[in-house]
């Protein structure tokens, strides 16, 4: 008992100088607060309590961030099989609940609808990191150059495909694409060579071909792609949303029409889902190019911090987790903002920390909490196994 206390004291002394990544946390808080403001702006004339609801999720998310920060991320390796199993069960469970808006993505829990796919993103990142990082082996240096075997590539593909296909069937094409991007990014960071990456891209191409040939995409999913070229498609639905979004952003111009300004598109639901997937539209309309760029800068800082965390991680496992999270956030931001300005298809991918939504917000803060844990644990403690 004394030995354990002594050990803990030693660890505490070594890590005294390791503080939470304040830039990371600060950016998270700024984006969340700004998100609440924009949700309020987009819904204040409709009379819903969207912002109040989201405040609860933000509070819960920050607690999750704090808890995850204080759990040694290396512990996740041991609970990974259980976590994976629970996630899979949840992903299958959604098919037993009634459709909402033509899709089965949610498990109703009364006070909110749990979206297991959001949790799956974090679990898959940890699982991939665990798979691609060197195991406790004296032969390999945890931070040295390293190659991946083809077997590893295949396993990684499997880790992503199982949840990816389930989510594709919900259907939620956008989220399943997030998994593809995470896989590609983490394999690259994890040491895959060009041939392996090319092979992976070929598999993706083949998959796309199969989906195309066998008409696995529904008509509205194809419309979402085609509408980028032809704005007249689905003029009451997706085409309307996209046109309205572009009109709103265009009228924002350099400095915006003013926060809470009268007659805005996003203030009066003329852009459907302006508090949700189209929250960036509300920012760009009301605060203009300046506001939009500031939001993007915040995300650049966030991604930059995650890459810094990755490069400072004590082991490859942590580095891979941090870079996987960076990939996830960058892809979300790119697809979401790209959608509102008409260069990416409307796939229903929300904007991290800003879009309304409980599961998404909490899984994002969980991810950042884990990354923060990687940051906090970056300094080795004497006597610890450095290679894991």
């Amino acid at each position: 008992m004394t030995a354990v206390l002594t050990r803990l004291r030693e660890v505490a002394v070594v890590r005294r100088n390791n503080r939470t990544d304040w830039i990371l946390l600060g950016t998270l808080l700024a984006l969340s607060g700004f998100g609440l403001l924009m949700i309020y702006s987009a819904t204040r004339n409709v009379g819903t309590f969207s912002m109040e609801r989201q405040m609860i999720f933000v509070a819960a998310g920050l607690i999750i961030f704090a808890v995850a920060s204080n759990i040694d991320y290396r512990e996740y390796r041991s609970i990974l099989p259980a976590a994976s199993l629970i996630t899979l069960i949840l992903l299958v469970a959604v098919f037993f609940f009634p459709e909402i808006n033509g899709a089965q993505r949610w498990i109703p829990l009364g006070f909110f609808n749990l979206q297991p796919a959001e949790l799956a993103k974090v679990v898959v990142i940890v699982a991939l990191a665990s798979l691609l990082a060197p195991q406790a082996s004296r032969d390999e240096l945890a931070l040295g150059p390293r190659t991946l075997s083809w077997g590893k590539i295949a396993q990684a593909l499997l880790v992503v495909l199982i949840p990816g296909v389930l989510i594709f069937l919900e259907p939620d094409l956008g989220t399943s694409l997030v998994f593809g991007f995470i896989l590609f990014g983490m394999l690259f960071v994890g040491g895959a060579n060009w041939r392996q990456l090319t092979a992976l891209l070929s598999v993706v191409g083949l998959g796309a071909l199969i989906v195309w040939r066998f008409d696995l995409l529904q008509e509205h999913q194809l419309d979402r792609l085609a509408v980028l070229w032809d704005e007249t498609i689905d003029p009451q639905g997706i085409g309307y949303q996209l046109r309205q979004s572009k009109s709103a952003i265009g009228s924002g111009q350099l400095t915006g029409r003013g926060l809470f300004a009268e007659d805005t598109f996003t203030g009066f639901q003329y852009v459907p889902e302006a508090e949700n997937d189209f929250i960036f539209t509300a920012v760009a309309e009301q605060l203009g190019f300046v506001g939009g760029i500031l939001v993007m800068v915040a995300f650049v800082i966030l991604v930059w911090r995650l890459l810094v965390i990755a490069s400072n991680a004590r082991d490859r496992f942590g580095a891979l987790i941090a870079s996987g999270i960076a990939c996830m956030i960058a892809f979300h931001v790119f697809v979401n903002i790209g959608m509102t300005i008409g260069i990416m298809p409307v796939t229903g991918i929300p904007l991290p920390f800003m879009s309304q939504g409980g599961s998404f917000y909490m899984s994002m803060t969980l991810a950042l909490g884990i990354a923060n844990s990687v940051w906090l644990m970056r300094t080795p403690v004497p006597g610890e196994n450095q290679l894991t």
């Binding site: 690259f188 265009g250 009228s251 009066f268 939009g292 993007m296 490069s311 960076a326």
Partner: protein
């Protein structure tokens, strides 16, 4: 590759992604922003249109024929309907109007976000009921909309026309057409649609959550201009009744013929007539039987009624779209060509005296073909022994042999006088091309020539599967041409492949009667504004002036008078009353095929000293011109010449 390098590459990829977003955002907001903002600003304004009242239509004496009245209609403006109220609103309105909720829902969905649409016109009681409940029916409006009223029923239906919703072809053809507003589909309603239509009024406003937050002053609709026709509704009624009497008479005669064991192929059911002023080319009356009531298209016509009418040709204005061989009525044109062009009669042919320009009208023309073999044309209808006749007697008695001889003479002399002398003359007088009347769907007709037959023959050789226009024997490659001398001879009596509309027959007589001026006939006299001010005085432009000497004109009119006094129409005009010496005309009996009855024709002119009226009458498959069409025309001419019209009884069968 080192781990740090890989992380850096990933970072650069992220920077590239963000750079793309930033550039695109710059493009949308700053580079294009002002344009998009302007377009967006325009887009938030909603426009409510108020349909203009269509202009009225009057006859030449100011008798109102068509007008518009205001009737209440139920509109739904989706701007003021909250999405959650939609279903209950559809339920309530459909039960109030006794319509299927699914039909209303379809209209509702088609109108689109912020759309405003007319649900239905309603009677005053229903309008009152609904307006009592308006407070609890958000988005529902009761608006008075103009509705067409056809005061004249089915009289003059083909000239007036009817309305209908624009189809895809209309929408493609005319820009800015409102697909919910009826447009003219036939007659003057169609031809003058843009004049009658008027300009819709607009009211622009902006709405937020069902509240109007901004508005522009309303622009009231500008009613359409009104039209005064050249037609006289009283005369029109006389003409239409006369045609129906003619059809009845024709069927009566057919019954007698059938009883006598003669071949009768069909019941007579169709007829057409035109009354034209030869000095101005104003159409004084134009009728086509069967007809329809244009009001049917306002209240809604069911498909059964529509197809029954359509199959009976009720929507076809036979006066301008019906094609018939002009038959012996064309002899007046051959007559004038013979005199004006100095056409030769054939030499060395039995029964033809080219020096005295006389022909022995014994019913048979025996002539030689180029190879010397004999050809016989027999006149089955004319009395066989008319004896030797000059041109005047030949017209009076409608002697086919004389006019065949004219055709034969022209054929034999074609190298010297040109092969199309007769056809060109006909074309100058308006045959073979649309007259240009201000009505749609005019048929041009066919004037057969060698060139046309060769064209047809070539087409027929290349498209053997299509129905042939020429007898296959004419395609024999050993023949010099598919067009024969016999074809020109038939043309001279208005037969063969030759077809024309009743209007073309009237136009050619009008030109002959006025000394050679061919104008565009018209049914509209002038266009007036809502306050009666003149907007456009429509006049008929002179299309061509045909060179006809005064002597020929006088001779022709005198001979046309002989037709009704002592010639083929004498029996039909027997009880014309005073002024018969002022009336002229020509009978015609159009041969069709061996299994169809002949078309009965009559084209009349009056008064012959100063022609004011040309009357063309055709009873389709009605029988003999002298027996059936001449009495109908006589009845109309009696009215025109202020005589009491006498009953339509059969005249003598002729030509």
């Amino acid at each position: 590759m080192k781990f740090a390098v890989r992380l850096s590459i990933l970072g650069m990829a992220f920077i590239a992604m963000f750079a793309i977003l930033g550039l695109r955002l710059w493009f949308v907001q700053v580079a294009q922003g002002p344009d998009i903002a302007q377009a967006a600003e325009d887009q938030t304004w909603l426009i409510k249109t108020t349909h203009a009242s269509r202009g009225d239509i009057y006859d030449r004496n100011g008798v109102p024929l068509v007008t518009s009245r205001l009737v209440p209609a139920v509109f739904i403006d989706r701007t003021f309907v909250q999405p959650e109220d939609r279903d209950i609103l559809i339920q309530r309105i459909s039960s109030l109007l006794a319509m299927e909720p699914s039909d209303l829902q379809l209209l509702y969905d088609e109108a689109g976000t912020n759309g405003r649409f007319q649900v239905a016109t309603v009677n005053t009681t229903a309008a009152y009921q609904i307006s009592e409940q308006l407070a609890t029916l958000p988005g529902v409006e009761i608006v008075n909309v103009p509705e067409r009223v056809y005061l004249s029923g089915d009289t003059m239906a083909h000239v007036i026309g009817h309305l209908g919703l624009p189809d895809q072809a209309d929408l493609d053809e005319r820009e800015g057409l409102d697909p919910t507003v009826r447009i003219g589909k036939l007659g003057v309603e169609k031809y003058y649609d843009e004049v009658l239509q008027g300009t819709s009024g607009t009211y622009e406003y902006r709405v937020r959550r069902g509240e109007i937050i901004d508005e522009q002053p309303a622009v009231p609709p500008v009613p359409g201009s009104s039209i005064i026709l050249t037609t006289d509704s009283e005369l029109q009624t006389v003409v239409e009744l006369a045609l129906e009497e003619g059809i009845r008479l024709s069927n009566e005669v057919k019954d007698q013929d059938r009883a006598a064991g003669e071949d009768v192929f069909s019941e007579t059911s169709r007829a057409a007539a035109v009354v034209l002023d030869p000095q101005t080319f104003e159409v004084l009356a134009m009728a086509s039987v069967p007809d329809f009531d244009p009001q049917l298209f306002v209240t809604g016509i069911d498909s059964e009624t529509f197809s029954a009418l359509n199959e009976s040709f009720a929507f076809n204005n036979l006066a301008v779209s019906g094609l018939y061989p002009p038959a012996s009525t064309f002899k007046a044109i051959t007559y004038s060509a013979f005199l004006e062009k100095g056409l030769p009669l054939p030499a060395d042919t039995d029964g033809i005296d080219p020096a005295n320009r006389e022909v022995n009208c014994d019913g048979q023309l025996i002539f030689e073909l180029n190879d010397g073999s004999a050809e016989v044309k027999t006149d089955w209808y004319a009395p066989s022994e008319l004896g030797w006749l000059d041109l005047h007697g030949a017209l009076e008695n409608s002697c086919n042999k004389y006019f065949w001889s004219v055709g034969l003479g022209a054929w034999q002399a074609r190298e010297q006088i040109g092969e199309n002398v007769l056809q060109d003359w006909a074309k100058e007088l308006g045959y073979g091309s649309a007259t240009g009347i201000d009505l749609a769907n005019e048929a041009p007709g066919i004037v057969p020539t060698r060139e046309l037959f060769e064209e047809w023959a070539e087409y027929q050789r290349e498209n053997p599967d299509e129905p042939p226009r020429l007898d296959p024997g004419r395609l024999n490659p050993e023949l010099a041409s598919p067009f024969f001398g016999g074809d020109l001879m038939d043309f001279a009596i208005g037969q063969g492949a030759f077809t024309a509309t009743p209007l073309q027959a009237a136009v050619s007589y009008a030109a002959l009667a006025n000394g050679g001026e061919v104008m565009e006939p018209r049914v509209v006299d002038r266009v007036i504004g809502p306050d009666g001010e003149l907007i456009e005085d429509v006049t008929s432009p002179v299309v061509r002036t045909v060179d006809i000497s005064e002597a020929t004109r006088r001779d022709l009119l005198t001979d046309l008078n002989k037709v009704v006094t002592t010639g083929t129409a004498a029996a039909a005009f027997e009880d014309f009353g005073p002024g018969l010496e002022m009336v002229g005309g020509k009978t015609g009996t159009g041969e069709t095929t061996a299994t169809r009855d002949n078309h009965a024709w009559f084209v009349g002119v009056a008064p012959i000293d100063n022609p004011q009226y040309v009357v063309a009458v055709i009873i389709e498959e009605g029988g003999s011109g002298g027996a059936i069409a001449a009495p109908v025309a006589r009845h109309i001419l009696q009215y025109l010449m202020n005589n009491e019209p006498t009953p339509i009884l059969a005249g003598d069968p002729t030509d």
